[in-house]
Amino acid sequence: MHLDTFETLADPTRRRIVDALRGGERQVNDIVLQAGIHQSGVSRHLRILHEAGFVSVRPEGQRRLYALRPEPFRQLETWLAGYRQLWEARLDRFGVALEQRRAKDATDEEPGS
């Protein structure tokens, strides 16, 4: 995992372009229409997305077709899964601490204990 993966998606314009590509391969004009962003902006952000590995590009005649690549999204999922499990484990400890606290309270309240 490298910082670029997250920095790339931190930009709202790039997230709109990624959304526009979720339906499949698109050429720049279609992305411009779908994302509602000026063409120069789309081209610049597509270049960044391509450099960061989010987007592939292939020529077809005069056109260049852009598509999403799965690898960085898998990386994001892996990172988030690790983060989630970290917190799941932390809340397991919370549960254990809660049980211990309850057990102690019950002992303290037991008459004659």
């Binding site: 995992m1 997250f6 709202p12 988030l80 989630r84 917190w87 484990a89 932390r90 397991d92 309850r102």
Partner: protein, 168 residues
């Protein structure tokens, strides 16, 4: 991962994560684990670390200050490997403090070399469901490679301890 438009423009790469748990207890007991010195110290922190609370000012805007101290040999070794001190002071604020209902804890993360200080936000909602208490924890993970590495290391050590606990 949720798309977080609220972060748009801040440049902070962030995600939102929600974890929900239900415990056979009262909400006030859950609340105590977050908002009392003994309660907080009984579970907070990564595996192999202990927490020593210095200030816990339970009110809106109240300060939470504690030391996170590497205790287990593997935690000590991990911190040494990463060139981190074995104990570091951590400071947070109870941005929201509504007893038995809602807590918003904001930590200032200022100990990661090469990374500008940033806020780490944890929101906790408490409610009663029948004779159980429900807790919804909303996390806003700040994502950077150093922290990721530490988290994954912490995660691995936690899994090891869980495995031990459940005899797996």
């Amino acid at each position: 991962m949720s798309d977080t438009d609220s972060n748009a423009g801040t440049g902070a790469p962030q995600a939102i994560m929600v974890i929900e748990r239900t415990y056979p207890a009262g909400v006030e007991e859950l609340w105590a684990l977050w908002t009392t010195k003994a309660g907080f110290e009984s579970w907070w922190g990564p595996e192999g670390f202990r927490v020593e609370v210095h200030t816990l000012d339970g009110r809106p805007g109240g300060v939470l200050e504690y030391d996170m101290i590497a205790e287990a040999p593997e935690a000590i070794a991990a911190m040494k490997t990463m060139g981190q001190p074995l104990s570091h002071g951590t400071r947070g604020t109870f941005a929201e403090f509504r007893p038995h209902e809602r807590l918003r804890l904001v930590h200032v993360i200022d100990f990661i070399p090469g990374t500008e200080p940033y806020d780490s936000v944890i929101e906790v909602g408490f409610s009663t469901v029948g004779d159980r208490a429900r807790m919804v924890v909303t996390l806003h993970p700040h994502i950077d490679p150093h922290w990721t590495r530490m988290s994954i290391e912490g995660f691995k050590s936690q899994l090891t301890k869980l495995d031990t606990r459940f005899g797996m």
